[in-house]
């Protein structure tokens, strides 16, 4: 589904991703862990199409297409969803209007007519219940004044509305209480279908108790330095990242 080869990218001339290789097949869940500043969010942003990141090498193929040539909105409509580490506030734009516009853009892309008002409300009701989001939030401006946890839940709500093929969740678990964590995990697990995939970026193994990943990667200084099964997360939780640094050091 997604194939990243030797991807190099930077910001303002500073190299951040230094040759990423990653293969994700339909049906898989990949967890990406790694110390602060190692490039996890940058990788997510490249996949979503953030234009200030300069791509200096490598290729990304998504469902047979050259992803790097696609506009961000087209990537979204082709099924890529990014749950932001820091969701953005948009004052004056109601959540309902925002997500309705998004859903209808997606439908248009698939050649479908816009949802009728009542069908839309029904869909929204159903998804709101799924992520147990407070009804009042939907009537407020996008993320404006939402608490940290509410913002994260709102990301999952939007994911549920858009039903992506490839969801990239950037620390969606950070700042969540235990109940919210379960809700977020549920959201991801529901999306788990043979032809969908997820990338879950996290610092905490506890999320992976709820979302069982097929593969865990460690991103360190712009490279994926270790890939293993879910037991790697436990090991990291226990030992931190120093032993990986040590391993790398010994290697060189």
């Amino acid at each position: 589904m997604l194939s990243i080869k030797n991807l190099e990218a930077g910001i303002n001339g500073k190299m951040i991703l230094k040759g990423i290789n990653l293969e994700i097949k339909a049906g898989e869940i990949h967890a990406i862990m790694g110390p602060n500043g190692s490039g996890k969010s940058t990788l997510a942003a490249v996949l979503a199409g953030r234009d200030f990141i300069e791509i200096s090498g490598g290729t990304v193929t998504y469902m047979g297409n050259d992803l790097l040539q696609m506009a961000p909105e087209d990537r979204s409509k082709e099924g890529i969803f990014l749950g932001f580490q820091y969701p953005v506030e948009i004052p004056g734009v109601s959540m309902v209007n925002f997500i309705k516009t998004a859903v209808n853009e997606h439908r248009k892309h698939r050649g479908l007519a816009p949802l009728s008002a009542s069908d839309f409300l029904k869909l929204m009701q159903e998804k709101k219940e799924l992520v147990e989001i407070d009804s009042k939030l939907a009537n407020r401006s996008v993320n404006e004044g939402f608490s940290g946890g509410e913002k994260k839940k709102n990301e999952i709500f939007q994911m549920a509305m858009l039903e992506p093929k490839l969801a990239i969740l950037d620390e969606t678990d950070s700042g969540l209480d235990i109940d919210a964590l379960r809700i977020v995990a549920n959201g991801v697990n529901r999306l788990r279908k043979p032809d969908n995939a997820s990338i879950v970026i996290t610092h905490y193994q506890r999320l992976l108790d709820y979302i069982i990943p097929d593969v865990v990667h460690v991103l360190y200084d712009g490279r994926i330095v270790k890939t293993a099964g879910k037991e790697l997360a436990l090991e990291l939780e226990e030992k931190g990242y120093d032993w990986i640094k040590q391993e790398l050091y010994n290697h060189n």
Binding site: P91, G92, T101
Partner: protein, 483 residues
């Protein structure tokens, strides 16, 4: 990615101003230049009575003693008032009796602009239209229906002919010819415009609307609107305007006067979409307009709503003189400046009567190199006890080459008055746009969404069907401004 954005921007700039076409129609024009003979000629062409010619000449002589105002936050190039044609009219003899007599080209023009000259129902209701092209009114619809209620809605010229007493009684009482440079100029050379009188106790059953179109080159447009709401009456009035794209600037200097008698209520909405000039700032309309209403009677109300997206330079301050006790003035404004547009707009609320109330909501949007100023005066006179004003002035910036400025003036001479002012400035960030993009919303649509969200409070004040048009217009006028 880069290339794609360039393409988007190109597409948009070429389609930016969709009213920029020119109608090839035979036009009667008088020679360029301005002197007493010009004024006599205009008056003669219009077959005006002596008293009106006198009014014009008096105004002209006064204008000669005045100077262009220089205080606004605007860069205005020198205007050569001798290089303007002061009268242009689509040739049409004799005046059209019915729709069939109207030049088909002219009809096509208004069709293209979406202005029905046929009497037909629009989306959500009936709208009576007075269509003005260059210096003359082309057609007023629904006149008969309105006449049954005693409502007069016609071109200004017709009002001068048919209702001279009303015109004489009210014209120049709210905006005297001495008021300011452009008001004096308009009073000297005004060509046509709309006149509206709502009799005592009548609630006007439909929106009244005037549509102004500049067509001819090198001409100025100087129209006058006079709107009188007699006691206990109500009217909602809408004005729209467009012009062809041209490289040279054109001058538009209008006057609008509103009189609201006891218990009367007037809602005046403007969607101003004169040609704004091109991306480099070439051409466009200079829009210098004096709009003022007086709440003469107790409990009367005047509400201005304006959506200003067009013109190279806009200079206007729709104002309310709150003379009657308990009278109310409102000003709701969205002003957009993109590319090299400049706007200096706002309002004056003059509290004279007791318990008078005014509300000001101004939303400025600047993009490109646009400069947007809010300038507002709230004046509370000595006897205006228990008066209240609330002002809210917000500015939204797109990009970092544009500017927003706020100049609130306060003059309060009564201690019981309560005056509140709030102001905010915000920016549409790339993060917000990217967030929308990531959900499948294009940059253009994202800006539209954000801007309409920002301006919602004002757009909600417009009559329903125009709100939809105004929303689209906001989006169109900002396209290509980020990317």
């Amino acid at each position: 990615m880069e290339r794609e954005q360039d393409n988007i921007i190109n597409d948009i700039t070429s389609g930016e101003y969709k009213y920029g076409f020119y109608t090839d129609i035979e036009t009667e024009k008088i020679p360029k230049g301005l002197n007493e003979d010009t004024i006599r000629l205009i008056s003669e062409k219009k077959g005006e009575p002596e008293w009106l010619l006198e009014f014009r000449l008096k105004s002209f002589r006064h204008w000669l003693t005045m100077k262009m105002p220089g205080w606004a936050h605007l860069k205005i190039p020198e205007i050569d008032f001798q290089d303007i044609i002061y009268y242009a009219a689509p040739k049409q003899e004799p005046a059209p009796e019915s729709l069939d007599d109207i030049d088909p080209e002219l009809k096509k023009t208004f069709d293209k602009l979406g202005i029905p000259l046929e009497e037909q129902k629009r989306l959500t209701g009936v709208v009576a239209v007075d269509a003005v092209m260059d210096s003359v009114s082309v057609k007023t619809t629904f006149k008969e229906t309105l006449a049954e209620l005693g409502i007069i809605f016609c071109s200004f010229s017709e009002a001068v002919r048919e209702y001279p007493d009303l015109v004489k009684r009210y014209m120049g009482t709210v905006v005297p010819y001495t008021d300011n440079f452009f008001a004096a100029l308009n009073s000297a050379v005004f060509s046509d415009g709309s006149f509206c009188y709502i009799p005592k106790g009548v609630r006007c059953p439909m929106e009244l609307s005037t549509y102004f179109r500049i067509n001819a080159a090198n001409t100025g447009q100087f129209e006058r609107t006079l709107l009188v709401a007699d006691e206990e009456s109500y009217v909602s009035y809408l004005e729209g305007c467009t012009a062809p794209m041209r490289d040279e600037n054109q001058l538009h200097a209008a006057i609008v006067e509103i009189i609201a008698e006891k218990n009367a209520s007037v809602k005046y909405s403007t969607v101003q979409n004169w040609y704004p000039g091109d991306r480099e700032g070439r051409g466009g309309i200079f829009n210098f307009v004096t709009k003022r209403g007086i709440c003469r009677g107790d409990n009367s109300k005047i509400s201005w709503t304006q959506v200003e997206t067009g013109s190279a330079i806009t200079w206007k301050y729709p104002s309310c003189i709150l003379r009657g006790d308990n009278s109310t003035g409102e000003f709701y404004s969205v002003a957009v400046t993109n590319n090299h547009q400049q706007a200096d707009t706002g309002t004056k609320m003059i509290h004279i009567g007791k318990n008078t109330k005014s509300t000001i909501v101004s939303k400025g949007i600047s993009a490109g190199h646009g400069q947007n100023s809010y300038r507002g005066l709230v004046k509370v006179l000595k006897n205006a006890s228990n008066s209240r004003n609330f002002s809210q002035c917000d500015s939204l910036l797109l990009g970092d080459k544009c500017g927003a400025h706020t100049f609130p003036y306060l003059e309060v001479d009564n201690q019981t008055a309560i005056v509140e002012h709030e102001a905010t400035t915000s920016k549409i960030g790339e993060d917000q746009i990217f967030y929308c993009n990531q959900r499948g919303i294009s940059t253009e649509d994202a800006i539209g969404l954000i801007v309409n969200g920002y301006a919602r409070e004002v757009l909600n004040k417009l009559p329903m069907e125009f709100a939809v048009e105004a929303q689209k217009l906001l989006q169109i006028s900002l396209e290509g401004s980020v990317g």
